[in-house]
Amino acid sequence: MTTLNGILIRQLRRELLLAYRRRGDALTPLLFFIIVITLFPLGISPEKVLLQQFGAGALWIAALLASMLSLQRLFTTDHGNGVLEQLLVTPCPLSFLLATKLMAHWLSSGLPLVFLSPLLAEPFGLEWSTYPALVAGLLLGTPVLLIIGAISAALTVGLRGGGLLLTLLTLPLYVPVLIFGTGAVMAVSRGMSAAPHLSLLGAMCLVSLTFGPWLTALALKISLD
C-alpha cells in the first residue's frame, strides 16, 4: 500500500514543513544561544586574555543549553495531538520514523548552531585557526546531544514537570561532549592538534546515530504503552 521510503520521505517533508511554519520556534534556541554567550564576558571579564581562556567553554555551554531547550518541542506537540500514536500504528518501524524526525529536528535546531558559532567566536578573541576545530566539534557533538536528549525526552513525554526533569536527566550525560568539544578548540589554540578530541567525538557521534533511534523508539513505546 505505501512503500517504506514513501512513508519516510513524507515524514521528512511534514517535519520540515512544520518547522518552516513554526520557524519562529526555531529562532528561539539560536537567540538563547547568543544571549547565553554574551552573559559570560559580562559575568567573568571582557579582557582578551581571559576571554581566550573561557571562550570555547562559553560557546559549548551555550550550544549545549540551546540544544536542550529545543528538546521540549520534540515530542510534546506530537504527543498532545495524537500523532505519536499514529506513528506507532504505521507498518514502518518506529525507529526509522524517529530517525527521520530527529534528522529534521537537527536540521532546524542543531545545524544553525554549527554555522552561527564561528561568527560569535570572534568577539571571544578565538583566532581563526581554532574555527575548524570549533565547527567540526559542534558538527559531531550536536547529534550526540540531540540523541541523548531525545531518549530522555521520550522517557519523560507526557509527565508533569517533564521539562525540568528532562534537564536533570540529560545534563550529566552531556559532560563528555562538553569536555572533548571544548578540549578540541583549546588544543588548537595551544598549537596542538585537535585530532584526538574530534575522533572521540566522532566515535560518540557514530554510536549515537546507530543506537539512538532504536533506543528512542524503545523509550517511546515504554512511555506510550
Binding site: 500500500m1 505505501t2 514513501g6 512513508i7 513524507r10 515524514q11 517533508r13 511534514r14 514543513l17 512544520l18 511554519r21 513554526r22 506537540t77 498532545g80 495531538n81 495524537g82 500523532v83 500514536e85 499514529q86 506513528l87 506507532l88 500504528v89 504505521t90 507498518p91 514502518c92 518501524p93 520514523l97 506510550l224 504503552d225
Partner: protein, 209 residues
C-alpha cells in the same frame, strides 16, 4: 495470504489491583462490525489499543490472518486504520496538508479533494486546522481513515462532537466499508444503526467474561 480475520482469545487486563476485564474472546471476519460498550473507565480504550497492537494484554492472545501479532504488530498495521480520541492533526497545517503528509497513507491530491468534499469540508480544506471546530477536525480525521483504505477500522468514539448529519454520513460510510469486505471495531455512547448485524461486546464488570 489467508483471508482477513481478527481473533482474540482470553484477553484480560488489570490496572493495579482492579481487573478491567477478563476472558474476552473476539472473532471478526470481513463484513463484521463489533460495537464495544461499557461505562467510562471500563477499559474500552485499552481493549481497542490491545487490538491495534499498541499495548499488551496481561494475558490472552490476538491474531490477525491467523498470525499472533502480540509481539510484532507490523503486518496488522499495514491494514489498520486507528482513530483515537485525538484527531492527530497539526494545528499549523491545513486540512489538505495534514491528509497529504499523514504517516500511513499516500493519497493523490485529487483523492484528498474528493474525500474532503464528500465530508462537506470543501470550505475548510485550506485553513489551518487550529481555527476549525472540533466537529470539523473530527471529520478530517475520518477523511484520514477513509483515505487509508484499511481492511480493519478501529474507531474510538468516532461520533465525538459530530452533528447528526455527520453521524448518518458516518453510518453510511461504515456500511459501505463493511459491504466491500472491511471490518470495524468501534466504541460509541450514542446508539449506532448499522445495516448489517453488528456484534455487541459489553465491558461492564458484572457482565464481562
Amino acid at each position: 495470504m489467508n483471508e482477513a480475520r481478527l481473533l482474540a482469545r482470553g484477553l484480560a487486563v488489570s490496572r493495579g489491583r482492579r481487573q478491567l476485564f477478563r476472558d474476552i474472546d473476539i472473532e471478526l471476519s470481513s463484513g463484521d462490525a463489533l460495537h464495544v460498550t461499557g461505562a467510562n473507565g471500563s477499559g474500552k480504550t485499552t481493549l481497542l489499543r490491545i487490538l491495534c497492537g499498541l499495548t499488551q494484554a496481561d494475558s490472552g492472545q490476538v491474531f490477525w490472518r491467523g498470525e499472533n501479532y502480540g509481539q510484532s504488530p507490523e503486518p496488522l498495521h499495514g491494514e489498520l486504520a486507528y482513530l483515537s480520541h485525538h484527531n492527530a492533526l497539526y494545528g499549523d497545517l491545513t486540512a489538505r496538508e495534514n491528509l497529504a503528509l499523514a504517516p500511513a497513507l499516500n493519497p493523490t491530491p485529487a483523492a484528498i479533494t474528493g474525500i474532503l468534499n464528500r465530508l462537506s469540508l470543501k470550505a475548510q480544506a485550506d485553513l489551518p486546522t487550529r481555527v476549525l471546530s472540533q466537529g470539523q477536525c473530527r471529520r478530517i480525521a475520518l477523511c484520514r481513515v477513509l483515505l487509508q483504505q484499511a481492511t480493519l477500522w478501529v474507531l474510538d468514539e468516532p461520533l465525538n462532537s459530530l452533528d447528526s448529519g455527520s453521524q448518518t454520513l458516518l453510518e453510511s460510510l461504515l456500511d459501505q466499508h463493511l459491504e466491500n469486505g472491511g471490518m470495524a471495531v468501534l466504541t460509541t455512547h450514542q446508539p449506532l444503526s448499522l445495516a448489517g448485524a453488528g456484534q455487541i461486546l459489553c465491558l461492564d464488570s458484572e457482565v464481562a467474561g
